[in-house]
């Protein structure tokens, strides 16, 4: 004779036909004589009726386009993960090689010291003229790098401005009203697609250590923009809710505002071109 606890814990298996023959017989034998467990079985049947399996499907709230791009996003995540790994391997290799180099440099530098002393004096005489032109070239190069950085910052600034306008508009949209009035989001979708392309470009260019925070913000924004870019047909309120909660959870607008404040405190390096309208 099985206990009440055993029977009750096997009721789900019994009801869904997954209990072994032997255990089924034991459970049924118990149920025939036990009012308490029979009552539990009835309750379970009501519960299972209340929660049909097909009703739980949160993935269906995402638009089809989201799923079409899912594998692509996994691949991108794999790429960026392997980049990080590669940089760690590189650092490790450098560290190991660095130690070996200490010994090699010890011997090498002792041998070269005398030669270098003589060589430096001779080279200084010979290259006095060359140095001046090389210095001029280096200065030009560093100016060019400064202009490139400035233009990247300007592009990022424009990108953040456009994204902010887009997001503020969407945040202030009532999803219920948007759904009922069949609001047209095609322009927002179009702008988001442009911005997604721009964010990919920016992420690949923002490589300076001082730009890492900005890079993370652009990556976060890209996720949100992708959600807007994949809105299609008649926009349903859950889709807008998902975007809004994403903006909220990632603190996107707060981070953009923070960037704006910090940029405002920095002196401008290059004049700012006119902003594009969204």
């Amino acid at each position: 004779m099985k206990s009440h606890a055993w029977v009750q814990e096997n009721l789900y298996e019994l009801e869904t036909g997954t209990l072994s023959e032997n255990n089924r017989a034991l459970a049924e034998e118990h149920l025939a004589r036990c009012a308490e467990c029979s009552h539990e079985l009835k309750e379970l049947r009501v519960t299972l009726k209340q929660m049909p399996q097909q009703l739980y499907n949160p993935s269906s709230l995402r638009p089809e386009m989201h799923w079409q791009m899912f594998a692509q996003r996994v691949e991108r995540k794999l790429d960026s993960a392997s980049e990080v790994e590669a940089s760690w391997i590189e650092r490790f290799r450098e560290m190991v090689l660095g130690h070996r180099m200490v010994f090699a440099l010890g011997f090498g530098s002792a041998l070269l010291l005398a030669g270098v002393t003589v060589g430096v004096w001779m080279t200084m005489q010979k290259n006095a003229g060359d140095d001046r032109s090389r210095f001029a070239q280096q200065e030009l190069g560093s100016r060019h790098a400064l202009v490139q950085t400035a233009s990247l910052e300007e592009r990022t600034e424009q990108y953040l401005d456009r994204s902010k306008i887009l997001l503020v508009g969407l945040i202030n949209t009532d999803p219920q009203v948007a759904e009922k009035s069949k609001m047209d989001f095609s322009r927002q979708v179009e702008v988001s697609r442009e911005l997604v392309k721009e964010s990919r470009q920016l992420v690949s260019e923002l490589n300076d250590p001082s730009q890492q925070r900005m890079k993370r913000l652009v990556s976060d924004l890209e996720m949100i923009l992708l959600q807007i870019a994949t809105l299609q047909g008649e926009v349903q309120s859950p889709a807008i809710e998902i975007v809004k909660s994403g903006v909220d959870r990632r603190g996107i607008l707060f981070k953009i505002n923070l960037e704006e404040i910090q940029r405002a405190q920095l002196p401008k390096q290059v004049s700012k071109p006119s902003k594009q309208s969204i």
């Binding site: 814990e9 994403g246 959870r249």
Partner: protein, 186 residues
């Protein structure tokens, strides 16, 4: 051979051989299940999406070590469940640090839809979310995802009797909660 038409074991063997198309097919076959499970734990669409992606990154990295003792789905579900539980723990830590009750409320609010069953679906999601984490995981995997008791015990690394106990208790609580929500509505 077209990976789309391959059965699971042939597909997995191609993924092991480094076939990226096969990996993509594998992702497409299982992505919605992974998402549904993750959502059941974290009740947040963005987090569920992140976790599902992260799970496939892990699959890609450790596919060579997958010996096939259990089915691929069980293995994937286990990865998703572990990642989700970690996320839930992180979130609890953050919440206790900030004691930000308001955020938790908005975060757990289920999405509304205009479909016919939306209210009932919302009730199910809400009732499910109110279960303790392990009971929720068992109800989700055993009932909604249709895994066997043995599979659930492997995914959650607990014994089969423990799975049955969590399921029994979880379903009881779900019933109470659903009845309350339905009564509140009427």
């Amino acid at each position: 051979m077209n990976p789309q038409t391959l059965d699971e074991s042939a597909l997995l063997s191609q993924v092991r051989d480094g076939n990226e198309n096969a990996f993509r097919v594998l992702v497409e076959r299982h992505m919605r299940h992974a998402y549904n499970i993750a959502y059941g734990f974290v009740q947040d669409h963005d987090d569920a999406d992140d976790i599902a992606q992260e799970a496939f990154v892990k699959v890609h990295r450790s596919i060579a070590s997958f010996r096939g003792d259990s089915s691929f789905a069980t293995w994937l579900h286990r990865i998703v469940a572990n990642l989700s539980l970690t996320r839930v723990k992180q979130r609890k830590k953050e919440q206790s640090r900030r004691a930000d009750v308001e955020e938790a409320d908005t975060m757990t609010e289920p999405a509304r839809t205009s479909e016919q069953n939306s209210e009932h679906r919302t009730h199910i999601e809400r009732a499910l979310h109110e279960l303790p984490t392990l009971q929720r995981a068992v109800v989700l995997l055993r009932h909604f995802e249709g895994l066997s008791t043995a599979q659930v015990s492997k995914v959650l690394s607990c014994s089969e009797p423990a799975v049955k106990t969590h399921l029994f208790r979880g379903l009881k609580k779900m019933k109470e909660r659903l009845s309350y929500l339905e009564a509140e509505l009427s």
